[in-house]
C-alpha cells in the first residue's frame, strides 16, 4: 500500500522483498481439490514437522506462500512458545489472510480512558475515518451497515448472505442481546472501475482463498496495490532482497539506506534513499530496527525510549464451542463452503457500565457459523467404524455449527522481543529474535467467559452434541502479532509518532502492525492499511516542506 501511495504521489520507490516472486498459474492452487492429490491436501507424511512446523496454516497447496522454518529461526523461553507464521514472497501474508476488515472505534482507540489500563492511541476515530474510507474503497469490502457504535460502518460492497444455520445463530444471539453480523470481508461482491482496471473480478465462491486467488476477488497486494504501483513506472521491485539493517548518517542519525543480502546469491548490497519505509510485518520490522545499531542508535534504530520490542500482543482464540444443528441432520448436501465468511459476533463485554464484566478488561468477539465444508470435521469425533460410522458422518456432516473466540490481549511491557542474547542467527547470518510472551489472568478470565457464552449461544440456537473448548491458543496462533514499535505522543514512551514516523529518525516510517498500541479484538489489516495511507500523505507533505 505504501509503494502504491508514494509512487502515485510522484516518488521513485524501490520495494525490497525478501522472498521470490510467485507465478499465479504455477503457484496458486485455487482450482485444485484435495482429492486430486494422493495426500488429500495434507502433504507427504512428516513434511510439515520437518520443514514448516510453525507455519500452522500452510497446507499442501499453499506451502509456497510461507517461509521454511529450517532457514528462519527464532527463540523462546522454555515453556512459553510463540507461533510465528511468516510469508516471504511477493504479496506476503495478503496472499492467505483471513480478509476480515474491521474498523476500530474510539472504544478501542481510547481504551485506556474507558478502563484505565495502559495508554490511549494518539489518534481518535474521527482522525482516521477518512483513511478507512480510502482503504475500504481501494481493497473492496463486502458487508452490511449494521449501525453499531462500537463497530463503525463503512461504504461496503453487497454482503455475502448468511446460511440457514447462521440465521439460527443470529436469532439466538439477538435473544441474548448480542449482535451477530455478516463479516466484513475484503472480497469483491461487486467490481468497481478501479478494481477492473487491474483485472480484479467478482468472487465466484470457490472457497479456496488461502490457496491463492487467481481472479483477484480477494484483496491481496499481488493483484491490487502492486500492479497499481508498477503502473506509475516509478516503482521498482527487487525480489530475494533480505534487509540486514538500516544504514544511518552518523552525523544526523537519519537513515541513508539499507544493507541487503541477496537470498539466492548471498551477495551483500547497499541501497540508498531519502526515506525508508519499514513494512516487513510486525516482528520482522522490529527485528530490523533492533538490528540497526549505530553510534547514534546504540540500542537499535528508534529505541532511545527503550520501548522498541515491547508491548507485543496477539489476539487469542481457542476457547469456544462447536456442535451440530439437529434440524439439519441428514439433509441434502448443499454448496455452502464457497462463501468462506461465516458470521461475526461483535464485542458485547465492557462496552459501557451495563455490560461491564467484573473479572476482565476489554472484550472479545466470535468468528464461526454453520456451513458445510469439503472436509467432514464431524468424522473426527464420531465413534465407530464401517458402514454405521459412514452413515453417522453423512447424517451430521451437513449440520455443523461452531463459534471460536477472537479476543483482545492486554499490551504489557513484559511481553517483548529482543535480539536473541545467545547469538542465534538465520541462514544469512542475521541475528534473530527471542520472543518473551505469555497470557495474563485477564486473558484467561476472558477465555473462560467466552467458552461459556459460545456454548450458551449454540444451545439457544438449538445445537446438540456441544463440545466446549477451554484452552487459549498459543500466542501467535491467530497471526495477529501487533505492537513492539508502538505509536504515541511521548517520544520517551513510544517508538513512532501518530503518523508512523520514527521519533529518533524522522525519515524512517513503520507502517505495519508494529505501530499498534492496543490489540482491540478486531482483525488488524484494515487499520494498518488506513494508517499507511495516512502516513504516506503526511510523508508527502513533510517532504514538500523540506522536513525530511
Amino acid at each position: 500500500m505504501a509503494a502504491k501511495e508514494l509512487a502515485e504521489r510522484g516518488f521513485e520507490v524501490l520495494i525490497l522483498e525478501a522472498g521470490p516472486r510467485l507465478e499465479p498459474t504455477r503457484d496458486f492452487a485455487m482450482n485444485k481439490f484435495a482429492y486430486e492429490s494422493m495426500y488429500r491436501g495434507f502433504g507427504p507424511p512428516g513434511w510439515k514437522q520437518r520443514e514448516q512446523w510453525m507455519q500452522d496454516t500452510a497446507g499442501e497447496f499453499s506451502r509456497n506462500f510461507y517461509i521454511n522454518d529450517t532457514e528462519h529461526p527464532y527463540t523462546t523461553d522454555p515453556g512459553k512458545p510463540f507461533l510465528w507464521v511468516r510469508a516471504r514472497v511477493v504479496g506476503g501474508k495478503t496472499l492467505h489472510w483471513g480478509r476480515l476488515s474491521w474498523r476500530l472505534s474510539d472504544l478501542d482507540f481510547k481504551a485506556a480512558t474507558h478502563d484505565g489500563f495502559d495508554v490511549d492511541w494518539p489518534i481518535d476515530y474521527k482522525e482516521i475515518e477518512p483513511y478507512y474510507d480510502k482503504a475500504e474503497e481501494w481493497i473492496g469490502v463486502s458487508g452490511n451497515r449494521d449501525g453499531l457504535w462500537w463497530q463503525p460502518d463503512g461504504n461496503f460492497l453487497p454482503p455475502m448472505a448468511l446460511t440457514c444455520g447462521d440465521q439460527l445463530l443470529k436469532k439466538a444471539s439477538a435473544k441474548m442481546g448480542i449482535s451477530l453480523i455478516q463479516p466484513r470481508v475484503a472480497m469483491l461482491t461487486a467490481v468497481k472501475p478501479h478494481h477492473a482496471k487491474y483485472g480484479r473480478a467478482k468472487c465466484h465462491y470457490c472457497g479456496s482463498c488461502g490457496e491463492g486467488c487467481t481472479v483477484g476477488a480477494m484483496f491481496n497486494s499481488l493483484s491490487s496495490t502492486l500492479p497499481a504501483a508498477m503502473a506509475t513506472k516509478r516503482c521498482t521491485l527487487r525480489t530475494n532482497s533480505i534487509v540486514r539493517h538500516i544504514n544511518v548518517d552518523e552525523n544526523t542519525g537519519k537513515a541513508k539506506g539499507v544493507a541487503v543480502v541477496d537470498r539466492v546469491t548471498r551477495k551483500e548490497l547497499e541501497f540508498f534513499g531519502k526515506v525508508v519505509i519499514v513494512a516487513g510485518s510486525t516482528l520482522e520490522s522490529t527485528r530490523l530496527l533492533l538490528n540497526s545499531k549505530s553510534s547514534k542508535h546504540p540500542n537499535g534504530l528508534g529505541n532511545s525510549s527503550g520501548v522498541l520490542g515491547h508491548y507485543l500482543v496477539d489476539h487469542f482464540g481457542g476457547t469456544g464451542a462447536s456442535g451440530v444443528l439437529p434440524m439439519f441432520a441428514g439433509r441434502d448436501t448443499v454448496n455452502e463452503d464457497g462463501k468462506s465468511s461465516g458470521v461475526f459476533v461483535t464485542r458485547f463485554r465492557n462496552l459501557d457500565k451495563a455490560t461491564k464484566h467484573p473479572k476482565f478488561l476489554r472484550g472479545y468477539g466470535f468468528e464461526g457459523g454453520s456451513s458445510i465444508g469439503s472436509f467432514p470435521g464431524v468424522a473426527r469425533r464420531t465413534p465407530g467404524f464401517g458402514s454405521e460410522f459412514k452413515r453417522q458422518v453423512r447424517r451430521w456432516y451437513v449440520a455443523p455449527v461452531g463459534l471460536t473466540t477472537r479476543a483482545a490481549m492486554l499490551s504489557r511491557f513484559e511481553n517483548y522481543v529482543e535480539i536473541d542474547p545467545g547469538g542465534v542467527v538465520d541462514a544469512w547470518g542475521i541475528p534473530v529474535l527471542r520472543v518473551h510472551i505469555q497470557h495474563s489472568d485477564n486473558e484467561r478470565e476472558m477465555g473462560k467467559d467466552a467458552a461459556e457464552m459460545a456454548a450458551e449461544i449454540l444451545e439457544k440456537a438449538g445445537a446438540e452434541q456441544i463440545s466446549v473448548s477451554r484452552q487459549l491458543t498459543v500466542p501467535g496462533r491467530i497471526i495477529h502479532e501487533l505492537g513492539t514499535a508502538r505509536m504515541g505522543n511521548d517520544p520517551k514512551k513510544s517508538v513512532v509518532n501518530k503518523f508512523n514516523q520514527v521519533w529518533d529518525a524522522k525519515n524512517v516510517f513503520v507502517t505495519d502492525g508494529a505501530a499498534y498500541v492496543g490489540s482491540a479484538n478486531q482483525n488488524p489489516t484494515l487499520t494498518i492499511l488506513a494508517l499507511t495511507i495516512r502516513a504516506c500523505e503526511y510523508l508527502t507533505e513533510e517532504m514538500k516542506r523540506g522536513n525530511l
Binding site: 529461526p73 512458545p81 484452552q471
Partner: protein
C-alpha cells in the same frame, strides 16, 4: 533515487544448517553452490559447564562424490531453544520416577494456554559448533561459525527419549524454576543413551 554498491566476498560463510535426529545422531545437508554434502553430528557425551548444555562428538561430511571425512571432539553448545506447538513425547517408561519434573501449581478454574508449562516441549535446539575447518572436511566454505538448528522431530523410540530429555533439561536449566539436581540427572540420562 537509489544506487547500488557491491562488496567483494571471500569464501562463502555458512551460518547455519538444519538437522534432524537420526537415533542418537543429527543429520542434515550442507548446500554449497551446486554441491550437496551429507552432514552427520554424532554426540557421544553431554555436559553442562557454565550452565549450558554442551554435546561433544564427531562430525562426518560426505562429499557429492562419496568421499567421507570426519573430525572428532567437536563441541556443540546450546545457544537457545524454540518452544514447540505440539505436546512433548511421553516420559520414557524405563526412567525412574525421580526424573519426572515437578507438576506446576494448580491454576484453578482458569483456562491454560496451549503447549505452555508442563504441556510444552522443545521444537528446535540451536547449537553452535566449535570452529570447523571447511577445507579439512572437503567443504568449500567457511565453517568457522556454524550453527546447527536441530529440529527435534522424533520418529523412533531413542529419538523420543532424547527429545523428552532435552526438553526436560531445558526446563530444568533455563525454566522459571531452575533445578540443578534434576538437570544433572537429565544429563546423566542423556549420557547413558549417547554411550549405549
Amino acid at each position: 533515487m537509489f544506487t547500488q554498491k557491491k562488496n567483494a566476498t571471500a569464501l562463502q560463510k555458512l551460518h547455519s544448517i538444519h538437522v534432524l535426529p537420526n537415533g542418537r545422531e543429527f543429520i542434515g545437508k550442507i548446500e554449497i553452490g551446486r554441491g550437496s554434502y551429507q552432514f552427520t553430528f554424532t554426540p557421544n557425551s553431554a555436559a553442562s559447564p557454565n550452565g549450558k548444555l554442551v554435546l561433544t562428538g564427531a562430525i562426518k561430511v560426505k562429499a557429492p562424490g562419496g568421499q567421507q571425512r570426519a573430525v572428532e571432539n567437536v563441541t556443540a553448545t546450546l545457544l537457545a531453544t524454540q518452544g514447540s506447538i505440539t505436546g512433548p513425547p511421553p516420559m520414557p517408561r524405563q526412567f525412574a520416577e525421580s526424573l519426572r519434573p515437578p507438576l506446576p501449581e494448580p491454576s484453578g478454574s482458569l483456562p491454560l494456554t496451549d503447549w505452555t508449562g508442563y504441556q510444552g516441549s522443545v521444537a528446535v535446539m540451536y547449537l553452535k559448533l566449535s570452529p570447523l575447518n571447511g577445507r579439512a572436511l572437503g567443504v568449500p566454505a567457511d565453517l568457522s561459525y556454524l550453527q546447527i538448528n536441530a529440529r527435534l522431530y522424533s520418529t523412533s523410540e531413542v529419538e523420543r527419549d532424547l527429545h523428552w530429555l532435552y526438553s526436560a533439561l531445558t526446563e530444568a536449566m533455563h525454566g522459571e524454576r531452575p533445578n540443578e539436581q534434576l538437570a544433572a540427572d537429565y544429563i546423566g540420562a542423556i549420557n547413558r543413551i549417547l554411550k549405549a
